[in-house]
Symmetry: C2
Subunit: 421 residues, 2 copies
């Protein structure tokens, strides 16, 4: 079938016409279809059998970037990357991503598991909902996917074969531009709170900061360490009280592990700051902000512990063969190497988290945590804090040696702002 964008009326017939998709809905009851896409690149339909006989999400790539109309043409290959990444992640971290039922290359469409009892994480976090299993689940996902796609687990030949499948130039270009360059320079798509004009101008002319961002971008563009999700913010995570799923991995490619970790930490901190506007009562606000910071700390700490555990237990990659550490003192040397490696990942986390915060304040897309604060005046407080924190993370990343240091900067900046809240 030649590519054409589907709509609510054409989805049911399309599904019935593909056996792999049709069999998700046994019984032949009519299919109820509703479009729910709030992304910028794709059509998303929830499909449910009226008779209760099955449900799924049909996701189709558009040939242009929706937020900017037709003016940013895109290739549709991201549907292929999304299907391949979901399958890869699902095999390495079972239960942490939606199941893939079918992928149609020509239509750039994939049919995946419908997560009807889950919510996109940003929204309940704004409503101060806690997810006690989240750290456990997401650190499993990160540790397993990143470890098992790295040179620590794979032979050089296996890793490069996988890497070749995830050379993803057009989607990488979006992150390269919109995370690491355009927000910090004159570019027509940039959007920001007009009350932040002075802050945005200052960032664009902050020479040491611009150098730091360029260094982090270099690493993003060249450091092919493991298969990243590459858009792992709290809008790409679906949660409920008992489950956590990572969705939307179309940006997947081989990059620095710290990019995924940094995206998640940055978005938890943005949510934390947004409560200065969402939750005016300090007695309600402070414990939840603390919960979010502890969650961010837990993400790193659990990731690092699990990742190192896998390394000790399951290392079979070319970096390094077991026999390399087989000498008197070798066990200790191996431990030093693991620590240095993880220190490098953490350092990447810090730099990327800084960029991920800043770009949301002055680039093409903000986040719902912030945009849902209607009043520009109230919104400016968390935004100013976020800019100060992102800037410090980037400039001080050489000295930030623990997650405690990193979040200490958040606490320091937030304390100074308590009087305004």
């Amino acid at each position: 079938m030649a590519y054409h964008p589907l709509d609510e009326r054409s989805v049911a017939a399309y599904i019935r016409g593909r056996p792999e998709m049709a069999k998700v809905f046994p019984g032949g009851s009519p299919l109820a279809v509703r479009e729910v896409g709030d992304g910028n690149l794709n059509l998303v339909f929830i499909v449910e059998s009226a008779g209760g006989g099955g449900s799924a999400v049909l996701k189709q790539a558009l040939p242009y970037l929706r937020v900017a109309g037709d003016s940013w043409p895109l290739t549709r290959e991201r549907a292929r990357f999304e299907a391949a990444a979901l399958r890869q992640q699902g095999s390495l971290a079972p239960g942490r991503v939606p199941l893939v039922y079918d992928y149609d290359e020509e239509m750039s469409a994939l049919l995946i598991e419908y997560l009807g009892s889950h919510e996109i994480m940003r929204r309940p976090l704004v409503a101060r909902t806690r997810f006690p299993l989240f750290v456990e689940h997401i650190s499993d996902f990160l540790a397993r996917v990143l470890f098992f796609t790295s040179d620590l687990a794979l032979s050089g030949v296996e890793k490069k074969a996988l890497q070749a499948q995830f050379i993803n130039p057009h989607l990488c270009k979006i992150q390269e531009d919109f995370v690491f360059s355009n927000p910090y320079m004159e570019s027509p798509e940039n959007r920001w709170n007009p009350l932040l004009d002075a802050e945005v101008r200052a960032i664009r002319a902050d020479a040491p900061l611009k150098v730091a961002i360029a260094e982090v971008k270099e690493s993003y563009m060249t450091h092919a360490q493991a298969l990243l999700h590459s858009d792992l913010h709290t809008g790409s995570i679906m949660v409920n009280a008992s489950d956590t799923r990572v969705i939307d991995p179309e940006f997947a490619f081989f990059g620095p592990m710290g990019y995924d970790l940094g995206a998640l930490v940055a978005n938890l901190v943005i949510n934390c700051l947004s409560h200065f506007a969402h939750t005016p009562d300090p007695a309600e606000r402070r414990p939840f902000q603390e919960y979010l910071l502890e969650t961010a700390a837990g993400v790193w700490e659990s990731f690092a512990r699990k990742f190192e555990g896998l390394w000790i237990e399951a290392a079979s990659g070319d970096l390094m063969p077991r026999g390399y550490w087989d000498f008197p003192g070798g066990a200790e040397a191996f431990a030093v190497f693991r620590q240095k490696y993880l220190r490098g990942v953490f350092s990447d986390l810090v730099g990327n988290a800084g960029c991920k915060i800043l770009r949301r304040m002055m680039g093409i897309v903000s986040v719902w945590d912030i945009t849902s604060i209607g009043d520009f005046q109230r919104r400016a407080l968390p935004e100013r804090l976020a800019i100060r924190i992102g800037r410090r993370w980037l400039l001080e990343r050489g000295r930030i040696s623990s997650i405690g240091d990193l979040l200490g900067i958040v606490r320091e900046e937030a304390r100074g702002s308590e009087e305004f809240s």
Copy 2:
């Protein structure tokens, strides 16, 4: 034509049977063919028309690693990588590589320019021949190929398209094993001067050194900075008084620039040390050793100057777009970024040069500079020096901040050995 290894008798008919190859030898005179391969992976034939009507080299990949007999099976795809790399390098650094006349995928054979008036650089360096244009030529090659295949010159999309063509898993695996792992552990193919047993044992159990080598290997395996030659020792360079050509780029892939630079510097230093045996008279030896060290310094300094010049003049890559540096103080910030970037390349040079020296003393293949010293006792002096120097480069690489520092360590160690020479 189904793959079969050629021999001196079958080459002429093979060439006459392919129009693109045949036209290199106009006139139809008989072809004189002699096999000259001293490599480990390939058959190499020099083909000359008896009537003076043309000459060329025919190079054919073998399906196994020759040095170890049939026991290391290899894919023949390296012929494709060699042809693609020669074409890419030739277009970016014209005149610095042999011309490619034709490439036959099925036979894994390529016909390239015959450089009859050139020598493999190692040998004349052992004979104390100077090449006054070498630094100029090789720094052109390195600066142009590395710059124009990096994110500084290419858009992210262009770079990744090129990178996808040079995912080269099997040849990378050879370097990963034989440069970064096996020489420093028990492995049956390792060879060393038996007088160096103690030194080899010490290296294998040197915990900080093993960690340092693992870190350099991590960078080799993941840091996709530019299209490397990836085997740039003085056996891959052909020279005469007026010309310099880089050959044998079958290992080409996207890796850290410092790997190529480090390989070259390491091999110049090995040659320098080999003169403690080759050239017993200090009055003859010292000036030539000094020439080699100055050559090594010149390689880095000219490379860095030309690379930065290209960056200032021809930057059109996504790292960064010009407008990113367009602010008051932006020119200075851009200069800081260039310096930091080049400092990173230099740091990679140091670590890789250390590995490149050590592996030649205790791995699968030594170098002619050393093996041509027949007497194990005399050979042990440069070898011991080389091991000391390679080890110090790796352990001190965090403190070695200039090529002067790097070569200072060579001078220091060599001075200490003058009494033995």
